[in-house]
Amino acid sequence: MARLAESHGKQLLAAAGIAVPRGGVARSADEARSLAAGLGGAVVVKAQAQTTSRAGQGLIAFADDAAGAAALATGLLGRTVANFPITEVLVEERLAFVAERYAGLILDDRRRCPVLLVASRGGSGLEEIAREHPESVAELPVDVVDGVTAGAAAELWARVGVAAAEAARLGETCARLWQVARSVEARSAEINPIAVRADGSPVALDCRITVDDAAVFRHADLGIDVARELGHPPTALERIAWEVERDDYRGTFYFLQMRDGFDRGERVVAFHGAGGGGSMMAMDALQRAGFSVANFCDTSGNPPASKVYRAARVLLSQPGVDGYFGSGSGVASQEQFHSARGLVKAFLEEPLAVPAVVRLGGNGEEKAIEILQGFTKGLSVPVECYGKDTPVDACAARFAELVAAHRPAPTDAPRRTPAPAARPYAFRSPTGEITYDHAVCARCASKACVAACVPQILKVSDDGLPVLAVTPEEAARGRCTECLACEVDCRALGAGGGHVALAVPGLDEYRRGRGLE
């Protein structure tokens, strides 16, 4: 994730010449014990968790020796913070100090530049310090090219009452902090507290560095595996979703889990938005209708049907949801039938066992409604689709009615893989494989696939069978846009000879683990 672990941040600070306590990361009590023994003397044991005020939650504790450190680690490891188990603790030497300061480099949306913030009182959150002791906080807008000089930073420290000698040393620390922030393209880089020791030397006791998600591609060395600000370590399902998104630049698929471990009847729903603003608006409407969302999801920027399909499969892998609700802004500039086909394929394969309401307003919405509503009639649950003239709150109200009326029934097994083709005809798409069973196609009167293929790369052969009108290489390189019409429209209007295999790495294993397969 784009927020670096405390231990990682401290490595970067140390590499830039900022002193940090000696220590290391432990994943077990034994590791904590040997780390503490190696350090000798009193230690601090800090749970590695994305939360504020760890001290107040008992997530930072002190031990006098190795045995004490092991005992603290035992208590902390496995504890759950904001639904996520603590898997690591940082074990560090406990240092004596005479003062705690704060230094932070943040990006200011108002001035459109970095700002250096310093406070002569560190420890608690900066907002709190600024509120209670405004005279102890000072800020300096920074030229993005010129950066922070030690001299300018020292003046800032002097302004908040720090004596000259210490201000000079802290100014040096700030110049180094700037270098770290600039080099990793941080959205924020804070040291809080900076402990000032009796000899006047500053030590970074804690730090929080968040790297710009959009710049992660330039910083492979940071080892950020999921470039998403999730507010928690990535879950297994979020990792699976990120793998879908990572190398597929066609549109955006954004997924984050907001709840887990809920049951049917708790009015928790799978949420599929489109566009950030529209998604937030839809989420708010669901809240007004008495629901909470299991996840946030946004497929937008004109993604192919294949990406929407994979997103829907990820969403449907959340056991316990009472329904599936989709809505974006309602007036999308992208062609909405792509999303409709992606949803149809996912719903039919699952098969969907809870009511769904999806608002697909925007360009191509009539066709989108026809596809999503018309092609899912075989399901045992209602699937309703609306366009731009039905407001999102009306959709949420209708969804509430359907959920209230729904009686859960035993679920069928997934219908993801068709029977082996008697006469297979196959070619690759950019991220999958299309297989026709020409034995089935021979019986098909409609050849709906050829008519519906959005990029028009199919034709009817002299034998009366659907085949590629371009080379297989061209199809694989992107002429096939994965519109999924060759399966979705074929299943509804043809003989059902077309199938598109689209893998979602890791998802089947995940589903088995959650009892969904």
Binding site: L107, D109, R110, R112, C113, P114, G125, E127, D143, V144, V145, R182, E185, R187, D212, D213, A214, A215, R218, R228, E229, L230, G231, T252, L256, M258, G273, A274, G275, G276, G277, G278, S279, M280, M281, M283, D284, A285, L286, Q287, V293, F296, D298, S300, G301, G328, S329, G330, V331, A332, S333, Q334, E335, G362, N363, D389, P391, V392, D393, A394
Partner: protein
């Protein structure tokens, strides 16, 4: 008048020979925008659908006696260089459509724009559209949709969400409330023309009588609009919807700017600031047209 773009604006498209640039340039022209030039290094002398291509923005400006706006359709890692080029050439408005432009790149662009005294819209923006006059970017998707969805009138729309820019425009038009210009400021945390700057321009625009806003959690744009109302710098009525009531703190909701951090940028804070300054804030998005109608005295 309208703001940012009108029927006279001379527009250059940077990256016009790319798939996206070509398609979007055509849509802009279909809507009536004066796309006078395209720009791709090494492609001088080419033409794309009849639009002449130049190596540099400066060449295009020289050939056409000046330019009023540039729209950049290049991949995110290259947006900074393209924007700096347009700014150096003195183009007064540069539109950065690209999504996922690194924020440190944006700050460098902002620095250069400030030094040159020019503006930029975005990044991560659908652009802006003045009804019946022109569009910079891709609002509406198809030109036919843009004509059908957005009717001419006297309400200015400014939004932090692209889709909701179209949505706001559509629902107002459908309710019989016409529009002057629609502006998507971009979804990122640092943008060239944030909501308060756009609101100021609407205040100065003789064609605009009322301002409709789609705001979001995160950042300080909505609070700064409230400041403009409080200080009396903006006197035209402002009607707003703020998305993200159900959002949780510390989580980024798609848009780089949509994150509540350290108690700043909350839904309640924005609603309270705007209401305290005299703006109307609706609870449900579908209440917006009626509230705008009321503000217009209808």
């Amino acid at each position: 008048m309208a703001i940012l773009v009108n029927e006279h604006s001379r527009v250059v498209v940077q990256g016009i020979t790319g798939r996206e640039g070509r398609a979007r340039a055509k849509l802009m022209r279909d809507y009536g925008t004066r796309v006078v030039a395209g720009c791709t290094p090494g492609r001088a002398g080419d033409a794309v659908d009849g639009v002449p291509v130049y190596d540099t923005v400066a060449d295009a400006a020289a050939a056409h006696g000046g330019l009023d706006a540039s729209v950049i359709f290049v991949p995110a890692p290259h947006v900074k260089a393209a924007a700096l080029e347009a700014i150096a050439a003195g183009v007064p408005l540069v539109v950065l459509v690209g999504d996922r432009v690194p924020v440190w790149d944006v700050m460098e662009v902002a620095r250069a724009a400030a030094a040159r005294g020019v503006d930029f819209l975005g990044p991560n923006t659908l652009g802006c559209l003045s009804v019946g006059k022109g569009v910079l970017g891709m609002i509406g998707g198809r030109a036919a949709s843009a004509r059908e969805w957005f009717k001419p009138g006297r309400v200015g729309v400014a939004s932090r969400s692209g889709g909701m820019t179209s949505s706001t425009g559509y629902y107002l038009s459908k309710a019989g409330i016409g529009l002057s210009s629609l502006v998507h400021v971009g979804g990122d945390s640092i943008v060239g023309l944030p909501l308060p700057d756009v609101v100021r321009r609407f205040q100065a625009d003789a064609d605009t009588e009322c301002i409709a806003l789609f705001g979001e959690i995160g950042g300080s744009q909505e609070e700064r609009v409230a400041e403009l109302l409080r200080t009396g710098e903006v006197t035209k009525p402002v009607v707003a919807y703020i998305g993200g009531r159900a959002a949780t703190s510390g989580v980024r909701f798609s848009h780089a700017g949509a994150i509540v951090e350290g108690g700043r940028g909350t839904h309640e804070g924005k609603v309270a600031a705007l209401r305290g300054a005299g703006a109307v804030v609706v609870e449900r998005f579908d209440e917006l047209p009626a509230a705008v109608a009321a503000a217009l005295g209808r």
